[in-house]
Each structure stands twice: as C-alpha cells, then as structure tokens.
C-alpha cells in the first residue's frame, strides 16, 4: 500500500499546475452564467444546466463534479432550488473553496427578499421552499441587487481585478437601469391581466408586471398536472377572464394544451433562461419573455 500512496502523491504533484489565470466560475443556472458574463467576461464560466432542463431535477453527474472541483466560485439560486443535487456535488468535488458559508459559494436568494417565504413547511404542501421562491431572476431590481453583491464577491476572491469587476458592474447597472423603464412601458398592457401558469416559475415576472397567476397547472408544487386538477382549472376559466396558459420550455406542454383547447385560450411558451433559442444575455431574455405575452393581450 505504501508504494501506491507514493504513486498517488507523485501523480497529484504533476497535475497541480499553477492556476494564475482568470477565475473559474460554476453557475448552477444559465441566468447566473449570463450575469457572470456581464461582470467577469474574462472568466471561465460553466453553466451546470440549460434553460430546457428543470433546475429542481438535475442529476449530480460526474461531469458536474469535475467542473465543481475546479471552481473558484459557485453561483446558484439557492432557497433549496438545487437541494437535490448541489450538496452531492459539494460533497464529491473535494473543493474546499465552494463550501456553504465560504466566499466561494454564492446563493442569490440570500442576497434579496424572496417572495412566498414560509414559516413552516410541510410535505403535504408539495415541494415548497421555506426560504421562498428561488426563481428570482425575473425580478429586475432583485437581479441588480444580486449583481451588486456578486461584484463584491468577485472582488474579494480576485482582489487584483477588483476595480475591473466594479467597472463592469457600473456598466451593467447603467444599461439595466435604462432598460427597466423601457420594459415596464412596453409591458404596461399586461398589468391586471390574469394567466394560468405551470409551477411558480414566473412568480417574480408576474409580480413585477402586475400580472395575476389565477391558477397553477400543478396541483401542488412539484407534482405533475392531473386530470382532476385540470378540470378544476377549466371551471376557473369560465368564471374569470384568463389571457393565456403559460409554461416554460422545460415543462411538458400537454397539460397546458389540454386546458387551452377546451377553454379556447392561447398556450404561451416562455423562455426560462439564457443560452437557448438565440437568447445570449439577460437583456435578450427579458425582451424574449415579454414579446409572446404582449402578443396575446386583448385576445
């Protein structure tokens, strides 16, 4: 055994080449990869998921452990969104930088006030999170706050480039603050509209724009739409004017279609994040999420 230990150490020494170049950033979701791209474009940025994958249900795949092993900073939504896979990556990656509570582990939900926090959580409520809704990237003010704290985190981890990250934030912040009133003006007709949507994926978007989510295709968070539940939603459409049935790209459209056909409503598929369908930035994502909703106002 002694010789195999020696070999192991010799092997390690060879592979531990100095790592002086830009930061390695591990983003749990593509929206945080896009945010990192704004603040640290020189960094090596890896997104663990795509906009077409349910971030609740990711496998702790070997490829993700390998990426986590080299990360200087992991940027995740938090609020238990990644509870089914991120702790396993942290445990298996043998990377002391990305432990909870250390500068290398950043949770967006810890930087802002989340919506729908719960004092107590019971499993009969479905898959809900006590720390509130984690899909906060459709709240422009919250995302800006996250960007600000993330900038300081980057500065802390890479002090030589601190001013560079702050300059990138100032630039992003200026463009973002210019874009917000433009989006709000464009989205004004959506105010007061009601939709039926899949999960609470767009909770923050609807909160921002004043759209009411009158019904959820999921009977309880995390459970697939059932026929009985869809029938209940169909009854709801007879009592209330609903603009559209909304779902994200990673969600099955069959439940939405079943309901939409019977209620004669349009089905609107919204992009959930960046990196797919030509959406290459957070600005493009906000544009792309407003467009299909606006197309159905007043129908």
């Amino acid at each position: 055994m002694r010789t195999s230990f020696k070999r192991l150490f010799a092997c390690c020494a060879l592979l531990l080449a100095p790592n002086a170049w830009a930061l390695n950033l591990f983003a749990c979701e593509p929206e945080y990869a896009a945010l990192a791209q704004e603040l640290a474009p020189e960094a090596r940025i890896f997104s663990a998921t795509t906009a077409l994958q349910d971030p609740h249900q990711i496998q702790a795949r070997p490829s993700l452990i390998a990426q986590m092993r080299r990360a200087d900073l992991a940027i995740c939504a938090g609020a238990e969104l990644e509870v089914g896979w991120l702790p396993m990556l942290q445990m298996k990656a043998n990377n002391p930088k990305v432990r909870d509570g250390l500068p290398g582990m950043f949770y967006a939900a810890e930087q802002v006030d989340t919506l729908d926090r719960l004092d107590s959580v019971s499993r009969d409520m479905g898959d809900v999170h006590a720390e509130g809704n984690p899909h906060l990237h459709f709240s422009p003010q919250r995302l800006l706050r996250v960007a600000q704290v993330l900038t300081e985190r980057l500065a802390q981890l890479d002090p030589t480039n601190a001013e560079h990250y702050r300059a990138n934030f100032d630039d992003f912040s200026a463009r973002w603050l210019t874009a917000i009133p433009v989006w709000e003006a464009k989205a004004a007709p959506l105010h007061g509209q009601a939709v039926i949507a899949y999960h609470s994926s767009f909770r923050y978007l609807f909160d921002w724009l004043g759209v009411e989510q009158a019904g959820d295709l999921e009977p309880k968070p995390g459970l697939p739409p059932s026929t009985a539940h869809l029938a209940g939603l169909l009854a709801l459409t007879e009592q209330q004017t609903i603009m559209a049935v909304v779902h994200a790209g990673y969600q099955d459209r069959r439940g939405a279609q079943w309901l939409a056909q019977r209620a004669e409503l349009p089905v609107v598929r919204l992009p959930f994040s960046t990196g797919q369908e030509g959406i290459d930035s957070l600005f493009a994502l906000y544009d792309a999420v407003l467009e299909p909703l606006l197309a159905h106002v007043g129908e």
Partner: protein
C-alpha cells in the same frame, strides 16, 4: 457480528431524535435529519436475500448529518430491521469526512459504504429494485459497509476522474473458520471516470480491486442446506462467499431528452464481479491437508445488467438480469466435498412515484437456483419506500 446487536421491540433511543423538528436547511445547530420507511409483502424469498416472506419491514433508516465545523462533516445512519419478531439496530454509517483538505484530496473515516462497484455506495432506499443483484448479495452481503478509512482524489480534468483507496477491518468479508484473522483485512483501490456526451447522454465507469487478507476460507463444518437457515438466524450482513481478491468493473449510462430529467429518463447499468482464489492453497493448509480431497473452484463470479425507464414523473419500469456462480467446501467426517452454488435471476418492476419522496413498487422475480436452499422460483413483492425530513441529494 459486532455491527448488529439485538433488542426486543422496546422504544429505542433514536426515537427521541425523531421528535426534533425537521430542518429546512442544515447548519451547525440544525442538522439534517431524514427517515426512510420501507415495508413489503413478498410471496417468497430470494436466495441470499434479506427480505422475508409475507409482511415485513425492509431498511428503516434514520440519518443525521451536518458539518461539524469548517473542517469536518459528520453523518450517522442507523438501520432498524425486523427479523423473526425481533428488532435489530444496525449502524450502517458513522463517519467523518474532511471538508477543507488541499489538492482535491478528501479523507473519510469511521464506518461507511465502500466505493466498490456502482451500486455499493448508494443507499438501499434509492435502488430501483427491491433487492441488490445476486452478485452483490453473494460477494458483498448486499451492500458492504465497514470500519476503516478512505483517501480519494479528484483530477482537475473536464472528464471526471476519481482515484481512491480504502482500508477496512474486513469483518463482514471474513471467511468462516479462520484460525488467525488479520485485524486490518481489506485493502481496496478504485478508480471512476465519467462525463457527458452532448446534453442528453451521461456515463460513468469504474474499476475496483479489493484485496481481502481474511477472505480465503477453508472448510465449512456444516451442510449446505444449513447455509440459509444460518443466514436467517445470524442475519450477519457479511458476504456469503469470500476470497483473496475481488475485482469489479461497472458502467452506467443515463439518457434524458435534452438532459431534462423531469419527465423521462433511462438508466442502464452493468457490473461484473470476479472473486479470485476463494479457497486457501495447500501450502497454507497443512492441518487440513487430509481434508482437501476435492479441489474447489479457482474463482467465483457474477454480473448483472439493469435498465430502468421513467415513463412519466409518476411511473417508472425496469428489467434486470443477473447471475452468480460460487460454491462451498464442506466437511463430511474425514473428507470434504465441493458443492457448487449458482443463481440466475430475472426481474421486472413497475414503480409508482406520487412525489419525489414516495415510491410504491411491484416486482416479479424469477430465480433459477442450484446449491442453495430455501429459495422460491417465483416471487412477487409489493414494496413501499418513503422518506421524511431533509431532502436527500442523490448520487448519479
């Protein structure tokens, strides 16, 4: 076996812990607590199986884990099993693991599941079938956990590469009737690789070499027919067949459309075990030389292939085929006989998952068994596995 002690069905200390409120997030003052409830009705019993005929409980697990401080993580998993009216409390995991070692190294010490093979380090409650494959039951006692230490290293590469070594006491893999057993019996070297092919395909492969200083058995002083009875009574979680070297190769492939595991995904896994030199050579066996009239097999082996498809978030179905071949040397007065034993097993299961936390499974197993008693050719099992408390993060 030292890891398992029996108490009669009185209230046990762990029950007090269950009163603690389940935490939303683990931290120092608030450890993660999770409880697994597992029960079944089974129409028969599998050769070398753990599940009893009729109504019975499987592994009822209570696990507590948290970071101890910024340097160490700790986990305790107790298992309660019911056997013939008695409740057994087992300690399946009680380990610490380093959180802050440099150079991508990590050390785990205490009692923990060995990294051998693909299934062994997974908890039984995450299995897709009601029992481990026959090769696991024969060569690892279903799942091999032991007291020892592990050192592992993760390579700084895009393709996952893990290299590790484990040293264990080796009691669960100790051959019967050893005159002198080494106190440190098991040395294990393993390596695992893994990666993605595009967005939809992921794979992992592993190789293992487990050296067992106490694995070579001599002669059983009992009849083969007693083997399963003995297993029931002792219910030692030890391996039924041991040898000097146990080799394993494993491969897993998973597919989900676009890598989105929400609705459909497929898992195909296969493993092969090769157990070398199950019986001691003559040079170590002078005292029993006269007994060694009949030579045993030079090696035992076993393998399985399994495929599980998630049809929808609520339903999954799977097929598994596995076999193992081994044998026992038995004493009959002044001479010994070699009795081969083998299992061929075909299984089909259908599982209903009302949520992430609950599963109800129906499984049919067909067994073709030679040299081992008390096995039924056909078994139907209806099983539930449910988890309460902290949300488990599952391994690949």
């Amino acid at each position: 076996m030292s890891s398992t002690f029996r108490i009669h069905s009185t209230a046990i200390a762990v029950a007090a812990l269950m009163g603690t409120a389940f935490s939303a997030q683990a931290n120092l003052t608030n450890p993660e607590i999770s409880l697994v409830l597992d029960g079944h009705y089974q129409s028969g019993e599998r050769a070398l199986g753990e599940r009893e005929e009729g109504f019975a409980l499987g592994h009822t697990e209570l696990a507590i884990s948290a970071a101890v401080d910024d340097k160490f993580y700790g986990k305790l998993t107790t298992v309660l099993e019911s056997h013939e009216g008695e409740i057994e409390v087992g300690l399946e995991e009680a380990f610490i693991q380093t959180l802050a070692m440099p150079w991508a190294l990590s050390v785990r010490a205490g009692r923990f599941l060995s990294e051998i093979g693909y299934l062994n380090n997974q908890h039984l409650h995450s299995d897709a079938f009601v029992e481990r494959p026959a090769a696991y039951r024969a060569f690892l006692g279903g799942h091999y956990f032991d007291d020892g230490i592990r050192l592992n290293w993760i390579a700084p590469t895009d393709t996952y590469w893990e290299l590790g070594t484990e040293v264990f006491g080796g009691d669960p893999l100790q051959a019967e009737g050893l005159d002198h057993a080494e106190t440190v019996g098991v040395y294990h070297l393993y390596s695992k690789w893994g990666g993605d092919i595009g967005l939809a395909h992921s794979w992992q492969a592993g190789i293992s070499w487990l050296r067992n200083e106490n694995g070579q058995g001599g002669v059983h002083e009992e009849h083969a027919e007693d083997l399963l009875d003995d297993h029931d009574h002792d219910h030692s979680h030890g391996a039924e067949f041991t040898g000097r070297d146990l080799f394993n190769v494993s491969a897993v492939y998973k597919w989900a459309p676009g890598g989105n595991y929400k609705y459909n995904h497929l898992t195909i896994s296969a493993e092969y075990f090769y157990l070398d030199s199950p019986f001691a050579g003559e040079e170590h066996d002078h005292d029993h030389h006269a007994l060694a009239e009949e030579a045993g097999a030079d090696y035992f082996d076993g393998w399985y292939v399994s495929g599980v498809y998630q049809i929808s978030p609520s339903w999954s179905a799977g097929l598994r085929y596995g076999q193992m071949s081994a044998g026992l040397m038995e004493a009959h007065g002044d001479h010994s006989h070699y009795h081969p034993a083998d299992i061929k097993e075909t299984e089909a299961m259908l599982a209903w998952h009302p949520s992430h936390f609950s599963t109800v499974r129906l499984q049919y197993s067909h067994q073709d068994v030679h040299g081992l008693d008390h096995a039924d050719d056909h078994q139907f099992t209806l099983q539930y596995v449910m988890t309460l408390g902290a949300h488990d993060a599952h391994q690949f």
